[in-house]
Structures are given as C-alpha cells and as structure tokens.
C-alpha cells in the first residue's frame, strides 16, 4: 500500500549518541596517530586551508566528528583535501595534520569497501 504523503517528515535526531556510536575506527586512527588527541580545537588548520576557503570543508570539524564515532560522509568530506600540508605548518600542537588526513582517508576508505 502506498504511503500517503502528508507533506511533512520527521527529522532525524541531530545528537551525537555516544552510547550507540561505534568507536572502533576512531580508536584505530588514534592508536596509529595518538598526536591527533592533542588537538585543542584552535581552528588554525581550517583557517589556513585552501579547500576550506573554497568549499564547505572543515578539517577540524571532520576529525572531531570522527573521534566521536560520526563517520557518515567523513570520507567524502576528506576527499576535498588537496594534501597541500599548509595545516601542518600552522598547527600549534605540532600535529602532522596532513598525515592525519591521509590516515582518515585510508581507514574510512577501508570501511566503505
């Protein structure tokens, strides 16, 4: 039976639910590059990012979401990165952000296949 379209839908909850999220991929990423945990969320990487200045790409936001187990769309977002490495030059915590970008792509790429 066809569903009647009443012209409205129910929004999906936006909350990050840490009781449901699976942190396995996130833990793997952090185990390989524990330095990512030293991020203090300053946003220098995003401020300097060429991709971020031309598209909606926000490296800080994407890797923070991944660390909370929110992988949906993260791989596609990370593909906007051109791996220029400017973010690494400015990180005050000395994080190899370019390495993190590549690691995330590798790990979440695995996830998709």
């Amino acid at each position: 039976m066809a569903t009647i379209n009443f012209g409205y839908t129910i929004s999906k909850p936006r909350a990050i639910d840490m009781d449901r999220n699976n942190l396995r991929k996130s833990d793997e990423i952090l185990r390989e590059m524990p330095e990512l945990q030293a991020c203090i969320g300053c946003g220098s990487c995003t401020a300097v990012c060429t991709a971020g200045n031309l598209t909606s790409f926000n490296f800080r936001r994407v890797h923070t979401l991944i660390r909370r187990g929110e992988y949906q769309g993260a791989y596609e977002e990370m593909n906007k990165c051109m791996l220029c490495g400017k973010c690494r030059l400015v990180c005050p915590r000395g994080i190899n952000t370019r390495g993190v970008a590549m690691l995330i792509k590798r790990k979440l790429g695995d996830n998709r296949s």
């Binding site: 936006r14 909350a15 990050i16 929110e70």
Partner: protein
C-alpha cells in the same frame, strides 16, 4: 621585637605566615576553627602538576610549626577582629599588634546545581569526593563496581551567574586533568571524558600535563558544558551537552560523573570585613589594598591577607603570598 601577630586560619597560608613571622622575631599565634591545622589540604590526595602527596607538604609545615614552638589555638573560631584585638566565638579577647587573615575559601556546594543531581543520584561525585576516595585507596561506583566510562565536568560553581559565582576558580581545570589521569591509571579500560568551557592552564607544567593527559592517557576533551544529568534505569548517569567544536548536541551515559567544584568566598567574610574595615571584591573574597603594589595588604592598616581569602590560588602561590604577608606585617610593626 616584642610584638604579637595573630594569624587567623591554620591552613597552608596561616602556617607559612606564622613560620615567617617567627623567623623575623615576631611572636605569632595561629587561631584555627577546626580541631587541627591543615585546612583544605587535609582532604587532598596528591598535588598537581607533580603528583606530590599533599600529606608531605602538610606534614612538613606542621613539623616546622611544632619545632619552632608556635602557639596554635585549635577549635577556636573568630567572631570579629581589628588590627589590635581579636574577639573569639566564646567572647574572649586577644590583644595583638597586627593580624594576618588566612581564612581561605569554601568549596562550592554542588547540590545547588540541581540539574547535575549531586546528592540525588548515585554515581555523581565532586572533585573533593574523588580526592577523599583516592586518599582511602578505593575509588568505585556506588555499588562497588569498576567504572567503564567516566565524565568530569569543569566549572561547577565557577563562571556561573546562576549561582552567583562569576569568578574563575583557576585550579579546577588542572585538578580535572590531574584526576582524569589518576582515574585512567586506576581504570585503564575506562573511557574518560572532560567537558570544559575553556581550559585554563595557568601554572608552570600545567599545559604540559594537559597535553600528556590528551596524548598519553587518551583522555577525551569535549568543549561544551553539560546541561543536565539524569539517572538511567540501570543506575548510570545520562548527560547532555553540546559538542561545540562540531556544532552538534551530544549525549552519553556514564558510570561516574565528577563535578569539579570551585572555590567560593567564605560566608563569614562579610561580617569579618565589616568589623575590621576591609573591602570585599564582587566575588565576595577580601580585596587587597592594591592589586600590584599592595596585594597582601588590606584597606585597614595592620591587617594583612594571605592565601585564598583574597582569591582562588594554588598551594605554591598561597605559600609565597603567606611569606609576603608576614614580611609586610613585620615592616608595618617596625614602623608603628
């Protein structure tokens, strides 16, 4: 110099000030409200950022006070005072030539933040509770089991106009980092989350400790203040916050919620200040005469301030300030 200075308060500040006065040839008397000296340090386990046992610092201060035969009056409350006379709760009056006020602070009562359920739900603790549990050598959930997930919440009773505490208590941030590391050491299998508004690492070695907590201890820092806690059917605590760095609401259930309670001004500061002619800062702490060139002096001649009676401070700052307050008192006595 045959002069007598009364030191009100026998915590770290009071003991250090008395030691310095004695060293300078002045006769100090410590007046302590509790049954023993030590103040808040008695309930602390180890001190940031070096994990030095609080008992080591306290023991040494007490040893020196005893060795130098400094007069200590315990279980003695002070009703009012001026620079020349201290009136005790029992009505006795002690004459003196100057006073060092070292009455410290009061821990914020976490049950006032009802939304966090302290005193209502099992498994909600304060940072002071955790210190006591660490001192006793047993940290556990209310039912005695090991926690798998722990959240620490910064700024409980600090930077919060809803509870009339607008000031930053300064030391809770580093205490939160320290306790997160201690809990992770005790429960390596547990996930530890710190929820913060800002991380304020003001002291030497603090930022380094914060980084160590992040990178070596795998402690998760989430920028966002927990809005509420509620009990789950299985005795855990569900918390809600915004993960402001992702712009998304976040919720999770935890086995233990630790509230990092701030320092607030003592209730009797108002009455003591009025009687002695001292000024109070908007935070309720006693205001120094001048924040730069008279920061251990008060508005009243002959009354000096040491330690957290004038603002939240760590132990090192408190000890330094006690020395400075004693020196200022000695200078004053020489002039008068």
């Amino acid at each position: 110099m045959n002069k007598r200075v009364i030191v009100i308060g026998g915590g770290a500040a009071g003991m250090q000030a008395a030691l310095r006065l004695k060293e300078s040839g002045v006769e100090p008397t410590i007046v302590e409200r509790e049954a023993e000296t030590g103040g808040k340090l008695r309930d602390w386990y180890v001190l940031f950022p070096s994990f030095t046992p609080a008992a080591d610092v306290l023991g040494e201060l007490r040893r020196r006070v005893a060795e130098r035969h400094i007069e200590v009056m315990t279980s003695t409350g002070v009703k009012s005072f001026t620079s020349r006379e201290v009136t005790l709760d029992d009505g006795r009056r002690l004459a003196c030539d100057a006073v060092v006020l070292a009455t410290g602070f009061t821990l914020f009562d976490a049950s006032l933040k009802e939304e966090y359920g302290y005193g209502l739900y099992d498994n909600v603790f304060t940072s002071a509770d955790i210190e006591r549990m660490l001192s006793r050598g047993r940290v556990a959930k209310a039912d005695g089991s090991r926690p798998r997930r722990i959240a620490l919440l910064h700024c409980v009773g600090s930077r919060d106009e809803k509870v009339c505490q607008q000031h930053c208590s300064r030391v809770c941030c580093i205490t939160g980092v320290k306790q997160a590391m201690e809990l992770k050491k005790l429960f390596p299998e547990a996930d530890v989350f710190n929820f913060y508004m800002d991380i304020r690492m003001f002291g030497p070695g603090y930022e380094e400790m914060y980084r160590e907590a992040q990178q070596k201890y795998n402690i998760h820092f989430v920028r966002g203040r927990i809005s509420e806690a509620s009990p789950t059917i299985d005795g855990r605590v569900q918390i809600k916050a915004e993960d402001t760095l992702t712009g998304r609401p976040l919720r999770m259930s935890v086995d233990m919620l630790v509230l990092l309670v701030g320092m607030r001004a003592n209730d009797d500061n108002a009455a003591l200040a009025e009687g002695a002619g001292l000024r109070r800062a908007p935070s309720g702490f006693i205001a120094p005469r001048n924040l730069f060139l008279g920061n251990v002096e008060s508005d009243a001649a002959g009354i000096f301030l040491a330690g957290t009676v004038s603002a939240p401070k760590n132990i090192g700052e408190t000890l330094n300030e006690a020395t400075a307050a004693a020196d200022a008192a000695v200078e004053y006595l020489k002039r008068s």
